[in-house]
Symmetry: C2
DNA sequence: CCTGTTTTCTGGAATGAGTCAAGAAAACCG
DNA sequence: CGGTTTTCTTGACTCATTCCAGAAAACAGG
């Protein structure tokens, strides 16, 4: 699953050292949005051979800090990552199979729920998660992932 | 911190057996909204003596299934619980200290971000989390809880 | 291109929230 | 009061994630 995606320039632009694990992780996340750490580890190993689990965790943390990837953690799920960081989109999560898809947020309505009575908080982000069932799970008997 | 809150009738109304652990857990969650499991365990033990950790987990699951409490899991935080289940409110989370406060959602604007292009999902809930800094942390040097 | 400095990666052990399972103990029904 | 069913206890266990110390790689300067 080769992609024309070029990880190296992105890493350099972010002032991050270019290493094989980093290129592989960034590419894997780009090619498989919403993947969890474990599947990223497997894809990275398939791509460049042995890589320690720790390295992947470190890389994901570095990439997240550099805003090259974004970490999403829906309730009841492990951490997942995506490279779509430029725009502000939200997520749709299937309660049954855990599948996640992006939903564009119509431009103007960004923080449409302004925190009235914000208790003095300085709000910098409004995160929206839509919960429901994906088409496939909707027509199957309820599997009940009790969450 | 005795409260006039009566857990027993709520349990009965939900067709749940009334046990000391259940009453204690429900009361603790009511009195300390957004508490995590560990602090609930400690409060319950302070209230009624020895209770197994497992019992608290079981009770919280039962109460959640019965919709007497709601479980919230902001990214980077352990599970937290609240008894405010009737209305639909959102949460404001401090990036620094993890503190959570409720924000009322103005009536009409419920799922104001209608999932346009919903990929065929059957959406049943829109969850909104506002991220920022609480007043106390806002005026302190950045503690950086890197999440 | 070689060397030193800094950052990253390896390997292995550890942490901690949460779960599983089997039997003992309570609740509730009549 | 029994009998049934549900809940609680105990203790082992899973699994994502983190910590640590040393080895290896990347980059900057010569």
């Amino acid at each position: 699953m080769r992609s024309a995606f070029e990880a190296e320039p992105l890493l350099r632009a972010a002032a991050l050292r270019v290493t094989r694990p980093r290129v592989a992780v960034l590419t894997a996340v780009h090619d498989h949005p919403h993947a969890d750490t474990d599947s990223i580890v497997r894809r990275v190993r398939a791509a460049i051979g042995d890589v320690s689990t720790q390295a992947v965790y470190d890389v994901l943390r570095a990439l997240t800090a550099a805003r090259l990837v974004r970490c999403i953690e829906p309730a009841g799920s492990v951490a997942r990552y995506e490279t779509r960081v430029a725009d502000h989109h939200d997520h749709l999560v299937c309660r049954s199979c855990g599948d996640i898809v992006d939903v564009d947020r119509a431009a103007g309505e960004a923080p449409c729920l302004t925190a009235t009575g914000d208790h003095g908080f300085t709000v910098d982000e409004a995160e929206v998660v839509f919960w429901g069932l994906c088409p496939a799970c909707a027509r199957l008997p309820p599997v009940d992932r009790n969450r």
